[in-house]
Symmetry: C2
Subunit: 330 residues, 2 copies
């Protein structure tokens, strides 16, 4: 059954029963607006748009995986403020020849990612278009102190929670044809299994965002464009310098060593510049002992008199750059 | 200058200065999330997605008009809850060959629509795609009593504020080639001037939403898919019947009589089934005198024992149907 054979009402009815109402919803979808509680008298909001062929491929990921991914990357932004997710709204642009089954499976995947957090999917909009687009806006409530990128201070410890580089390695394995796209789960060769799974659905450490706030985090963000690029953004926002430890990143590199060998790539490249695992990058005051699930990976330093004189982020004291820009790909 | 010649950072920098911060923004764009105040301890949220070729045409509307329209239709949903807009986030899918100038003008148009309301544009996301897509999510704060579609009671008066049918007439005039798309403002033949202007940028009565709530509105929604279809939705949500007065709709029909003559269309068709003027459809208790800017256009009645036996909406007691479905066009 193709979407063009159905009315908008029929399409919505096909997935209405799948979506979680959420614990903060006073009024769900179906009216002009939803009404969502904001216990702290304010809310955090983030939006991300995914385009078929650009952010995901219909032949590389299942509909459930694509839906879960769209939710996960927005939920990671909520976590990165030290907030708890409350509600999502979803706008979809759908080709008329898309199968209804694809859509309901995508919504099921999204719902499965959202439901355990207690948040609801409280509204959305559907439109017809040539290219499949998924635009998610997520909301959360935050305590007295949202954790921004701007609070890191010299002397702080740089920590990370979640994986680094796996998604980039998975994308590389699929792009180079080393993993047949129809393989899923344990059928994927072990060398690439975690990488491909993370590319398809990242597993952001969603609860760790609140934990970081409780432990006194001074700054936080999610790693979506690569560790070095995102650390640079945090360092710029905070007016500091960050030095990363290659030794501390060793376990991430080691976890991708077989994949790196198979692809002829130093896995450290993925660890430093691969985005979309949606790990959380956190800074803690020096007096806070960095313990599980956080791992110390560097230190925050002061910048000199003229910030333009040196790089914002170094690895063992040496300059390093890298990352990903969707518009301008060098 | 085309977008593909620029980095995402450069593109954002080109319009960052245009966008209003808003009166409710604790933290604006640039972090993982924005932080927006929700004075009532909850917020209303709505999302709408516009697709080039489907909801607007690049050769029929200026970039400023397209941006203003995207904002206006979301702000109308906020108004229709009796709420005041606080913040918008905007996700854009942009073809790489789009001119930067187009984008900055579109953002300027959106900003111009949002700024007078006191709301801010507090975040967004950009992606590359084949087809231009504008996905807006708008937020508002609401008093004790959000005005839903479900509160109309038998005996209530049905009222409207804003125009009906103008946008549909404007679309018809452009579609039939009776208005050259390059004409703007007073250069448009007077017969179609208001219609084409409303099609390009609807002028929802944004302040009237709060006013309706203050005057005791029992139900409210914005007319986006046509008066009959939207009145049917309100009637279904409230479990009531609505009878519209052809006499009361006379002024709307009269305002489009010249356009109707030129196009060989009874303008009542546009008034009853044309969407996208984003008027507000309101029900008031019988004891509330309906005064300016509201106009009484009908009455709310009880439904019989079996709701399936009769239509939800009638015109002078006679059945009527009509409206617009983006997916299934008969």
């Amino acid at each position: 059954m193709k979407l063009s054979d159905l009315t908008e009402g029929q399409i919505i009815a096909s997935f209405q029963g799948l979506i979680p109402r959420g614990n903060f919803t006073d009024l769900g979808s179906g009216d002009d607006c939803a009404v969502v509680r904001a216990p702290g008298g304010r809310f955090v909001v983030t939006t991300d748009v995914l385009v078929a062929g650009q952010h995901f491929r219909l032949d590389w990921s299942s509909p459930e995986q694509i839906g879960a991914r769209a939710a996960a990357q927005n939920l990671a932004d909520i976590a990165a403020m030290g907030a708890e997710p409350t509600a999502l709204v979803v706008s979809l642009v759908l080709p008329g020849d898309l199968e209804l089954d694809w859509l309901t499976r995508m919504v099921a995947g999204m719902a499965g990612e959202v439901r355990p957090t207690g948040a609801g999917i409280v509204g959305g909009d559907l439109a017809v278009g040539d290219q499949l687009v998924i635009a998610v806006t997520a909301h959360g409530h935050v305590g007295e102190r949202p954790i921004t990128r701007a609070g890191a201070r010299p002397g702080d410890t740089v920590a990370v929670v979640g994986t680094l580089g796996r998604s980039a390695a998975g994308l590389a394995a699929l792009s180079r044809g080393l993993v047949a796209p129809e393989l899923v789960g344990s059928a994927i060769p072990e060398t690439f299994r975690e990488a491909v799974s993370t590319y398809r659905v990242p597993k952001p450490p969603l609860r760790a965002g609140r934990l970081a706030a409780e432990r006194g985090a001074t700054a936080m963000m999610d790693v979506s464009d690569g560790l070095v690029l995102d650390a640079t953004r945090l360092a710029e926002a905070s007016g500091v310098h960050i030095d990363l430890s290659a030794t501390a990143l060793g376990p991430d590199r080691l976890a991708l060593s077989a994949a790196g060998e198979a692809l002829g790539t130093d896995p450290m490249t993925w660890v430093l510049t691969g985005g979309e695992d949606h790990a959380l990058l956190v800074t803690f005051p020096a007096h806070v002992l960095v313990t599980d699930p956080f791992r110390a990976i560097g230190t925050v330093g002061a910048i000199g008199v003229d910030p333009s004189l040196g790089p914002r982020v170094t690895l063992e004291g040496r300059p390093i750059t890298g990352g990903w820009d969707h518009f301008h790909q060098s």
